[in-house]
Amino acid sequence: MNGQGSLVIIFGVLIAALVVAGGNIWLERRLLALWQDRYGPNRVGPFGLFQVFADMIKIITKEDWIPPFADKQVFVVAPGIIVVTVLCAYAVIPFAPGIEVSGLDIGILFFLGMSSLGVYSVALGGWSSDNKYALIGGLRAIAQMLGYEVYMGLSVMGVVMIAGSFHLREIVEAQENLWFCIPQCLGLVIFIIAGIAEARRLPFDLPEAESELVAGFHTEYSAMKFGMFFLGEYLGITLISAMIVTLFFGGWMGPWLPPLIWFVLKTFFFIGFFILLRASLPRPRYDQLMAWGWKLMLPLALVNVLVTGGYLLAWG
């Protein structure tokens, strides 16, 4: 890759990711409204699109308050961690042929590692707030991450086995004839569920469960520090959607339209799906969440790995 072109791609991906994350605020509010028989924000600008700017101005100009009892350094650093780690994970996604920041050979492992690191943000944020609700939220985030990260990794192993590579571009190219959502449908379901838990989205938003924990790990956060957590969350949704598309739905592949358009369309389909889940499903109890993760999803993921491996050994 030549230096200048890659710089353009790096900044293009950065800016696109942040713009999409900001646009998700609007998209989520409009879609939630659509499914709740409302209109959502439709006043500011065409279709209420400038609501994004209004929200940004509001959240940047709000009072940024650090509680006197908080552990100040950690408190300030925590919101940044999630944004940085999630943005790092965008580096390995192949958006279209030739449009990727880094063609890492261990792309999937890098993605898993970066998305796991993101939990430090939540845990440290909850710890440094010195607030019992924030701490419980942080603890829940850690337990949830431990439980769900395990089978998130296992669920993509089937894909890796079929494609024979950890390199995301090679995985996409291996889906030339058949998207992996058909042979790996169990892996897809498990990956989607783990992905929601990873992005701490409803129905798995136990770390911030408003009805029981005030606002969970970000109880004490205000203004742009709070905004960073939400930026991280929206970046996370986009990242998980992009990963679902890359791993199971043939990435940029598709007829007629240019590859990048296909990738964006598929990604937004899954972002919309995440928002639909938020609109429809209630939050499970905490022990249900953990039992569901360890007793059901983990064995299912192992069975998926076993069956896929056995099939590939026998007929592959």
Binding site: W35, D37, R38, Y39, L276, S280, L281
Partner: protein, 171 residues
């Protein structure tokens, strides 16, 4: 699990339902005539003020937002010298309307009273008075009351017999 999937599907179908939202500034909401909104002072059909400045509304007001001063004109008719309602305090409970013996003070189905300056919410008598009788067109207090005022003596009101001469035994 099945019920979860069904829930997701049913919520998705809500995308095609009719919207519940009333797009307010363009579409006005349908407000019933007894809605308790902006307070007005009404007039008789012949144009006189109905308010007799009895202070009952000011007494009934739970937030003490009504203030007035009674005075009399040359016919002996009571009326308020000033009548002031502070709408930044008013809770639109309607007690003043219930207390009013002459149907003078009435609540109307108007709620669009937004102001930028708080002082603009203090309405004086000329802001409150309307030209008509409001919700009760057929009522004129001085025409049914037994009170003697200029131009109408005792016993000259509607449905009223002339006063009895208590010093006379004749039927």
């Amino acid at each position: 699990m099945w019920s979860h999937l069904r829930t997701i599907w049913l919520v998705l179908l809500h995308a095609f339902r009719k919207r519940e939202t009333v797009l307010y500034p363009e579409v006005k909401p349908d407000i019933p005539p007894r809605w308790r909104g902006r307070i007005i002072l009404s007039r008789d059909l012949d144009g006189g003020e109905r308010c007799v400045a009895c202070y009952l509304c000011a007494v009934a007001c739970p937030v003490a937002c009504i203030s007035l001063q009674a005075t009399e004109d040359e016919h002996g008719r009571r009326y308020p010298a000033f009548f002031r309602i502070n709408f930044s305090r008013c809770i639109f409970c309607g007690y003043c309307e219930e207390a009013c013996p002459t149907y003078a003070i009435q609540l109307t189905p108007d709620f669009e009273m937004g102001e930028y300056a708080r002082q603009n919410l203090v309405y004086e008598k000329e802001d409150l008075l309307i030209s008509g009788p409001g919700k009760y067109p057929g009522y004129n207090y001085y025409k049914v009351a037994g009170l003697a005022i200029g131009g109408k003596g005792k016993g000259e009101a509607e449905d009223e017999a002339p006063p009895v001469d208590v010093k006379n035994l004749l039927p």
